[in-house]
């Protein structure tokens, strides 16, 4: 069973992501509504996958991504964003994100990407 941690400031999006994790028969390792405690939680929970929203108040996804990869260069972080800006996508991949999911997303798309990233 794949353990997945999620961080998104939207309650609605977190609800959908949790349902996707359930449908995929994965395990929800933990959920965060901001990026502030992401590194601490990641260190504690050690999830197989971290679904990380880009635009969060206080600390954005890019800052969290840098912290996580700095701590664990093999971390499997999947960014989620409404931005289709190619420079942003490239920057995330350059910093170590394994994939980039664009909102609005489809359940199957998210599950497929989780599977691909875990296998990679």
């Amino acid at each position: 069973m794949i353990s997945v941690m999620i961080a998104d400031d939207s309650d609605a999006i977190r609800m959908v992501l949790k349902d996707i994790i359930t449908i995929g028969q994965h395990n929800l390792a933990g959920e965060l509504n901001s990026g502030v405690e992401a590194l601490e939680e990641y260190t504690k929970l050690k999830p197989d996958i971290f679904l990380l929203d880009m635009a969060m108040p206080k600390k954005d996804g890019l800052s969290v991504l840098k912290e996580i990869i700095g701590f664990d260069p093999n971390a499997k972080v999947i960014m989620i964003s409404a931005s289709d800006n190619q420079d942003t996508v490239k920057e995330c991949i350059r910093l170590g994100a394994r994939a980039y999911i664009l909102k609005p997303f489809n359940f199957q798309e998210v599950l497929d990407i989780i599977t691909q990233v875990v296998k990679s």
Partner: protein, 134 residues
């Protein structure tokens, strides 16, 4: 990267309703914050100073609205987001305060009153005023 219909076949209807209710509250909250922020801007210079803050709220609507089948609200937010990013990166843009205020009013109307009204005139207005941005 591809976009698909967000709600899958067989998705629990009760959960779907719960999602819609939650998403509606979040979008309404963002629209209210945007209205307040824009109310305090009387010109493009003031709008530029607040553009980063405004963009964060617009960006959230852009991601969430299409997931609750509010595609028109999502498209207005998407066009507005492009204009806002241009303002953030390039500075004061003539007419930007007015067009974003108009966008927020339209989103509010679509969201709360009539989701059937068209947005072609907004698309055209944005394209006419900012052909290289919108």
């Amino acid at each position: 990267m591809t976009t698909h219909q967000p709600v899958p076949h067989g998705y629990n209807l009760a959960r779907h309703d719960e999602f819609l209710e939650m998403a509606r509250k979040e979008i309404q909250s963002e629209i209210d914050i945007l209205k307040e922020a824009l109310f305090s801007c009387t010109n493009d210079e003031q709008f530029y100073k607040k553009s980063r803050e405004i963009e964060k709220h617009m960006h959230k609507i852009k991601g969430l609205a299409p997931m609750m089948m509010q595609e028109k609200v999502g498209e207005i937010a998407q066009i507005s987001d492009r204009i806002l990013k241009h303002v953030i990166n390039h500075g004061v843009l003539k007419g930007s305060r007015d067009i974003i205020s108009d966008a927020v009013q339209r989103m509010s109307y679509l969201f709360n009153r009539d989701s059937n009204i068209g947005i072609n005139d907004f698309r055209k207005q944005a394209m006419d005023v900012y052909p290289k941005i919108a």
